[in-house]
């Protein structure tokens, strides 16, 4: 038998058992519409790139990281100083986390503004908001792991915030901390969230998200849909995938450059009994929430100000979840107001973050 025949044989052998030719056929026929806003179609695969990098560097860090009160800080110090190229791995993991979350924000905001969540894509949006929350949870739990004074205080504050939610709040705080206080148990628990529970959640919901995107195809902005004329299209394979690969190459280059020139620092190990350090600040993606809590008055008409702030934030998250349902008439005035709200949110978040940075 010729070698070509064998290959064909293997392929059809696999296809008989897995039925993959349907998938390949689908991807070969998939088309990406081209219009003014098509650049946003590249943000999703950028997130995938950074998540893949997080998985690879994360699994490498797990080889040396030690999730205990005594060992955490020294094991990170060892990764930074002793393990060959350990500092680059940690630096890439730390930077790629920021890049990933930045792209999740950009991705969701672009969908909000172009209204790509319109029927029938509501569930795609909702799964996307879950992915945002999980990504933020990754960042929050990861931040504690180096176990220095800043990360300890940030975690104390962050895990205490749910406590102001009536009734269930205390239990959320206890669940996160593994007790009433932040202790070594909290560190071990956060490690468990960070390296096993969150990755499982993220991969599962990501699978649903990607399935929905394939099933429904790319959405077209309202303005182009109204015109009703047929848009130019780009074949997904190979044209679009090749373009995505160019984007990946550029982003990887930027990521490694900043990772090499600006590695994260490591302060001395946290002391549970020491006063909170000055200049406490969470990671940039929590800054606007942090600033909100800081400026909220401690009492508003006998009610604890934080309770109101936290309930407001929760309300915001719930509204964000159901945005496609709230935005029921995308082409009308209400739809325009909801688009304006996206810009308002961006201005608000950036202003609050800058305020926090400059004060």
């Amino acid at each position: 038998m010729s070698s070509k025949g064998q290959k064909m044989g293997l392929r059809s052998w696999l296809d008989d058992r897995l039925g993959v030719s349907a998938v390949f056929g689908f991807l070969r026929d998939k088309k990406i519409p081209q219009h003014r806003h098509s650049v946003w179609y590249y943000t999703g695969s950028a997130i995938l790139l950074f998540f893949a990098i997080q998985m690879i560097t994360g699994f490498m860090l797990v080889f040396y990281y030690n999730p205990t009160l005594e060992g955490a800080n020294t094991s990170v110090a060892r990764i930074m100083t002793e393990i060959p190229l350990g500092w680059i791995i940690r630096s890439v993991h730390s930077w790629s986390a920021s890049f990933m979350i930045a792209f999740v924000f950009i991705h969701l905001l672009s969908i909000w503004i172009t209204k790509a969540y319109r029927k029938p894509r509501e569930l795609t949006w909702i799964s996307g908001v879950f992915l945002l929350l999980i990504s933020l949870a990754f960042g929050f739990t990861g931040y504690l792991l180096p176990w220095d004074d800043l990360s300890l205080s940030a975690t104390k504050v962050g895990t205490d915030i749910p406590r102001s939610i009536p009734v269930v709040g205390v239990w959320v705080t206890r669940l996160l901390r593994g007790g009433d206080d932040v202790t070594g148990d909290t560190l071990t628990r956060f490690f468990g969230f960070h390296v096993s529970i969150l990755p499982l959640f993220l991969l599962t919901i990501l699978a649903v998200h990607i399935y929905l995107v394939q099933k429904q195809g790319m959405s077209v902005p309202v303005s182009d849909e109204k015109k009703g004329k047929k848009l130019k299209e780009l074949p997904f394979w190979p044209n679009f995938v090749y373009r995505e690969m160019v984007v990946w190459l550029i982003l990887t280059g930027i990521l490694f450059s900043v990772a090499i020139f600006f590695p994260p620092s490591l302060e001395k190990a946290a002391d549970l009994m020491a006063p909170a350090p000055e200049g406490l600040r969470p990671e940039w993606y929590f800054l606007f929430l942090f600033q909100m809590l800081k400026i909220f008055p401690s009492k508003i008409l006998f009610i604890n100000g934080d309770t109101i702030a936290v309930l407001l934030i929760l309300l915001g998250i719930i509204a964000f979840f159901f945005l496609p349902l709230i935005d029921s008439k995308p082409a009308e005035k209400k739809g325009k107001i909801i688009t304006a709200a996206a810009y308002l949110f961006i201005v608000f978040a950036v202003a609050m973050s800058l305020w926090s940075l400059l004060s």
């Binding site: 206080d181 401690s298 100000g305």
Partner: protein, 149 residues
């Protein structure tokens, strides 16, 4: 199928039995699972320090002591008396510090201030610092939680 004088059909009966069994099983698994996930954390009822350690503290200074997994602060007042605080901010749980020169407790997390008696006077803290109850018995300084005999 339903017998003439029966209240249920056979299917309702079986579903009820099975559902009840399943519910009981789920509860009996969930309860210990929750017990495991939420470990008991009790604050200490009391902490005993040797009084000799604190006797020669200067006026208007503080000394740290561990109050379970939280820091405690023992403060010597101007009249030579002592007050003990849980040195944890009532806003969002950061550890506070005492600034002798300003006669204030300070929380760096969101700029929270308390006066020397632990009353909140600035920033976000909603309540005064928690106080602990002090007594001296022989050589020992005994620090108790409020409400403990």
């Amino acid at each position: 199928m339903k017998l003439k004088h029966s209240l249920f059909t056979r299917r309702q009966f079986l579903n009820g039995i099975l559902g009840g069994w399943f519910g009981a099983l789920a509860a009996s698994v969930l309860y210990p699972a929750l017990k495991f996930v939420f470990p008991p954390t009790r604050e200490p009822d009391q902490v005993i320090l040797p009084f000799s350690d604190c006797e020669d503290m200067k006026l208007n200074t503080v000394k740290n002591f561990p109050w379970g997994s939280k820091p405690g602060l023992l403060k010597k007042n101007d009249d030579g008396s002592y007050t003990a605080f849980v040195a944890v901010c009532t806003h969002l749980d950061c550890n506070v510090t005492y600034l002798s020169d300003q006669r204030k407790f300070f929380c760096a997390c969101h700029d929270g201030w308390y006066d020397e008696s632990g009353t909140h006077i600035g920033g976000p803290p909603p309540r005064p610092l928690r106080r602990l109850i002090l007594s001296i018995e022989g050589e020992d300084l005994i620090i108790k939680r409020e409400g403990v005999e």
